[in-house]
């Protein structure tokens, strides 16, 4: 999940009777599964929640380029280099469509990016962990994109039209990334030497729990979920999505011949799901607060990029103006 703990600013759900006429019409439209479009009336809290969620999602795509960028100059073969460059390019593209979807709500890209740089806006906690070996590139594709897809497949049905349509396009590309990531790990496990196999297991050991945290806090500690679900911005709870991810991922883990760093992970025939151990929520909240291993570097890199590029963007604007003036004359 690329958006975690998105504030709705709403303390308690209103019943239909408590709503104004406009609010009721809006809620009925959502209940009837009719998409909300940019020109439709919407409650301000719905608009603000979506801006927060979509911008968080867009920031995650952009910050998510950095842990992969750490390996793109060291990809070990021509094929792997091409795949990783294509993946990073797709992520920049996802960032662009998401910022565009966000702009349909009246938000401004630069303002929202400034919030990222000042630490006010969040991005997915997962990107605050370092990528320490080539296997991490595979594990990020498999686990991180895998977790993102579980969430995003559901978001294809989210109530806001432009976000839903962006998700449909993004999901296609993410599925491709996930298969590629898994194939990197499978090749290392099946055709690799012992050092490579150790890299794969080590990558899984480090990224397993942070990937499970991507779905956000457990339902009882997810204060904003009820409103987001009523608005159908969110369609399924964090715990449901996390369970689905684990259920689909464990067989893939076994096929790799690797293990998860969770002694409590086992199939529960009665529930028809895998049981799993306790997530370290303290770590999750600390990382989200900015105290993860790479938070400072990630934000500093992005801020530096935008600051260093200011003169380039200014030149492009100035040149476009000169050209427009010439054409007008």
């Amino acid at each position: 999940m690329y958006a975690q703990l998105v504030e709705t600013g709403v303390k308690r759900l209103k019943t239909l009777d408590e709503m104004s006429e406009q609010e009721r019409a809006f809620q009925e439209r959502i209940d009837a599964e009719i998409k909300i479009e940019a020109r439709n009336w919407m409650p301000e809290a719905y608009r603000q929640t979506l801006i927060r969620q979509i911008s968080q999602h867009a920031h995650s795509e952009i910050v998510g380029m950095l842990p992969e960028g750490n390996w793109v100059a060291r990809a070990p073969s021509l094929k792997r280099k091409l795949q990783l460059m294509a993946k990073i390019q797709d992520e920049a593209g996802h960032g662009l469509y998401l910022y565009s979807a966000m702009e349909t709500l009246g938000a401004d890209r630069d303002t929202e990016i400034n919030k990222l740089h000042s630490g006010k806006a969040k991005y997915s906690s997962i990107f605050n962990y370092p990528t320490l070996s080539w296997a991490d590139v595979g594990a990020v594709g498999w686990l991180v994109d895998g977790a993102a897809i579980v969430n995003q497949v559901v978001l294809q049905r989210t109530s806001y039209g432009p976000y839903s349509r962006a998700m449909i396009r993004i999901c296609k590309e993410e599925s491709f990334h996930q298969r590629q990531g898994y194939e990197i790990l499978l090749t290392m496990m099946r055709e690799g030497n012992q050092a490579q196999k150790d890299m794969v297991q080590d990558a899984i050991n480090r990224l397993w729990w942070p990937s499970l945290m991507m779905f956000g806090p457990s339902d009882e500690h997810s204060p904003n979920s009820a409103q987001s679900m009523a608005w159908k911005i969110k369609r399924q709870s964090n715990d449901e999505l996390r369970q689905r991810f684990i259920d689909q991922t464990v067989p893939q883990l076994e096929l790799l011949g690797c293990t998860a760093p969770d002694p409590e992970l086992k199939w529960n025939a009665e529930r028809g799901h895998y049981d799993f151990g306790q997530i370290q929520w303290d770590e999750f909240y600390e990382v989200l607060k900015g105290n993860g291993p790479c938070n400072q570097e990630r934000v500093a890199t992005r801020r530096q990029a935008i600051e260093d590029g200011a003169w380039v963007r200014a030149a492009a604007v100035a040149h476009a103006k000169k050209k427009a003036n010439k054409n007008a004359a």
Partner: protein, 251 residues
């Protein structure tokens, strides 16, 4: 003849590869999101082209090395790329000038190669030419924007120019290998390439209101002969680190 051709294919492949490697170093650091996409896109095209050229070189050499081996296991003295592309990225003015000078050369070279007597070269060049037509349009537009943008961007371009310009000498002077390949009809007319390159630079610089320096003069290094600047070794050390550390590994 085969030895010449292999050398030439390595030159094409290595230049594309090294240029792409420099673009990879911009990842996550570009001045705008649109530029992240464009830089990765151009880099992706160039790695694809490098793979095509190196595969052909490997087939002709037939010494047990494949394209990956050529890219990831050759020492800097065996690399045959242009000096221009191995230079550090610098600021965006340096990056754009390097890209533009390379693109203008690349475009002229490929226009000759699409008429090569060698069908394999023709095929690879035809696909590459479509890609490089876009690369040149993009980098040329950036030269204009930065040259004729703000006072700061103009000053940065003027400061970047001498850093990059000296390496353009390799773009316009052919060596004996290239002369023989031209005689054999494998590559295009070298004088024409030099003229086209010069004309492209003059036209773009005029639109960018930038002065065109006097032709660069020879300065005792030659990427084509494997005598590089100090920058290539470090670039390759990073790029080749995994295949070097695990020589028996499959990735």
């Amino acid at each position: 003849m085969n030895a010449d051709l292999i050398q030439y294919l390595l030159r094409l492949g290595d230049s594309a590869m090294v240029q792409a490697q420099r673009l990879c170093q911009w990842c996550g650091r570009a001045p705008a999101l649109e530029e992240e996409l464009a830089l990765m896109n151009v880099g992706l095209d160039l790695v694809g082209q490098a793979r095509n050229w190196l595969e052909y070189a490997a087939e002709l050499a037939d010494d047990g090395r494949d394209a990956d081996h050529l890219a990831f296991r050759r020492d800097e003295r065996a690399y045959r790329n242009l000096l221009l592309v191995e230079q550090p990225n610098g600021d965006y003015a340096v990056t754009i000038l390097k890209q533009f000078f390379y693109d203008a050369w690349h475009f002229a070279v490929l226009q000759g190669l699409v008429r090569s007597s060698d069908a394999r070269i023709q095929g690879i060049a035809a696909k590459a030419l479509k890609e490089v037509t876009y690369h040149l349009r993009r980098s040329g537009e950036w030269v204009e924007r930065l040259g004729d943008g703000t006072e700061e961007s103009r000053q940065r371009m003027i400061a970047a120019l001498p850093l990059v310009w000296r390496y353009t000498v390799e773009l316009v002077d052919a060596d004996a290998v290239e002369q023989r390949l031209f005689q054999a009809g494998v590559i295009g007319n070298l004088q024409q390439i030099a003229l086209d390159w010069q004309a492209q630079v003059e036209a773009t610089f005029e639109r960018a209101t930038l002065p065109v320096p006097q032709a660069a003069s020879h300065f005792y290094l030659s990427g084509r002969q494997g005598v590089h600047s100090e920058h290539l070794g470090l670039l390759l050390a990073e790029m080749q680190s995994l295949p070097r550390a695990y020589p028996d590994a499959t990735w």
